[in-house]
Symmetry: C2
Subunit: 353 residues, 2 copies
């Protein structure tokens, strides 16, 4: 697919996976349930759609070395370093400007670097449909996941009219984007139907998204024009200064909620953001006592626990509904409903790694 | 002190300290709360009483290499290898025969290899008193610890008449030895007074203990005579055969409960057998929320826990009355009252070390 580029957003912090993830080694760079790291698996998925030299990783300078090391199998992969984290809108804007300068017809498949998508094949199919939509109709294509539970941890997309298209899984206008709902509303969405999880996977032409930014985010647009001028002048320092001056804003809030040419592709693939340790319950099979175990573990009188061992055997006796994470870099033990606080632990540890 | 020998019994299994201790590395060889291992600290204590070349470690062949490695600072330390574990009476008998053949006046200070005795100075004082008693009066001297709580995990010694002696802490006839009591009786012992914990530290002349064995354990005596004959003949194979044919028997049950020339020395030193993970509560200071922490740990909303980290930082959130042990060799999590089951875990782990 000519002019198609994979853009991997790898700027997050991800300390919620302490002790596996830390400031220096955030979630994209950890091996979660796999022999490969999350960013390695993300690259492998994209390589089914675009060649290696059309994959771009957007990330902070502090993670460039580890990304290059982990992706050393693919030396043609490119890196776009953000001088500071400014959320997704500036990140995507910078990538769009960079690609458009080189290839005015550039089309971007924007994906997070740390999500769980077990089925590459269906992912690739969905992306191909999205690419067609984004190219032919100059749409801002977002990807919605059909919810399977009343999840309160994700944003939702309420689908509108089904569009006439050859996309079998369905392609919809977007009625509205919804922030993370409370439990009751999440249950309503599930019962009512027509609501989808916002996966954070976007497909669009660089030109389309930059036009959208120009219309709905004029300040970001001005900043991106300054950045483009600095790039034309070869002035890296200025470019970074302008980037740092941008406001933090998410692409959902800044653009997607306002633009009219947004469409939502219903994704057929299984997807999970695996945002916290307890989320592993959704992707790990449970034993007959409801324990989800990864790695070597001996569990005596233990039920409803998530046991995650990385190269360290775990023994548990008489536990219930706890998370136990064991690695050579650290050990975490907490009730399943307190796993968000792993961040606090990470923040307090003297030795980050 | 001429003719005095330190005999360290290091034949135990000690899987209750999994993951730190394992079959291959039992409790004497682990670092518990210290930079030195328990057997290293035991040797250091004995070196205040006897020279290096009068220290003998009795142990199984499978632990000879690790003992030699850990005690390599003291190359003159001797090793007596038991071809099989036969409990303390054969162990002590073998050591007594070995020493008596070389030195008919040999006096033995017999100590376990894995107990916690923080104050070397008082330990040495008590041992010196015991050595005097054992030498001058040909007594079987045992060491009793004044109980500080109604402990059900130890055997007790009920003291009899106080003996006229210059020993300031007191030296008593022994009325009886008591097996581990239940909680009510342990409370009675504490209230009543005159009961002491049986520390497993003995002082006697080799000659005295062998006479006692001859009188009260005739079968062991016969076996030891066969062993002595095999030693005289230089026949190691026979010697091992005879040892293996000995019955398992503890020195308390086989000899101490029966002999008349037993005296109990009241020990002034702090002592703990630290037999399980939860026993660390007794030797580690507790923080204001009742947590006993060793190593690097960040504890959020955690109370009454024992957190033991060896070279691995530990994070806990929302825990109560749990034990968390973290090491690069394994991780254990269990309620404080289930720590005896650590053995089960050790037994089920595929990779012992």
């Amino acid at each position: 697919m000519e002019h198609t580029y994979g853009v991997i957003m790898a700027g997050g912090k991800g300390e919620r996976f302490w002790p596996l993830s830390t400031k220096r080694v955030p979630k994209p760079f950890i091996r979660l349930l796999a022999t490969n790291t999350m960013i390695q698996m993300t690259v492998e998925r994209l390589l089914k759609i675009v060649p290696e030299d059309r994959i771009m990783v957007v990330l902070g300078a502090e993670h460039l070395a580890i990304a290059q090391e982990q992706l050393s199998l693919w030396p043609a992969v490119r890196y776009l370093v953000e001088p500071a984290g400014r959320d997704t809108a500036p990140c995507i804007g910078l990538a769009a400007v960079t690609l458009q300068r080189e290839d005015p017809k550039a089309l971007m498949v924007v994906v997070p670097s740390d999500h769980y998508i077990p089925d590459q094949f269906i992912f690739v199919e969905t992306m191909r449909k999205g690419i067609r939509l984004a190219r032919d109709d100059a749409r801002l294509v977002t990807t919605g996941i059909k919810p399977t539970r009343p999840e309160t941890g994700y944003g939702y997309i309420q689908a509108g009219k089904r569009l006439p298209s050859d996309v079998p899984d369905g392609c919809f206008e977007v009625r509205r984007f919804v922030e993370k709902p409370d439990a009751r509303r999440a249950a309503d969405y599930l019962a009512e139907g027509g609501y989808y999880w916002n996966s954070g996977i976007f497909i669009w032409q660089a030109d389309t998204v930059l036009r959208g930014i120009a219309r709905h985010m004029p300040r970001l647009d001005r900043g991106l024009q300054q950045i483009r001028a600095a790039m034309d002048a070869g002035d890296e320092v200025k470019k970074d200064e302008f980037f740092c001056a941008l406001e933090k804003r998410s692409i959902d809030y800044g653009l997607m909620e306002k633009a009219e040419n947004v469409v939502m592709l219903e994704a057929g693939f299984i997807w999970d953001d695996v945002g916290t340790w307890s989320s592993l319950q959704r992707v790990l099979p449970a034993d007959e006592r409801g324990n989800c175990i990864h790695g070597e573990a001996v569990c005596v009188d233990t039920k409803g626990c998530v046991i995650y061992g990385e190269d360290v055997p775990v023994g548990t006796i008489g536990l219930e509904n706890l998370i136990v994470v064991a690695s050579k870099r650290g050990v975490l033990v907490c009730p399943k409903d307190r796993d968000q606080d792993a961040r606090k632990i990470a923040g307090h540890m003297e030795n980050d790694d």
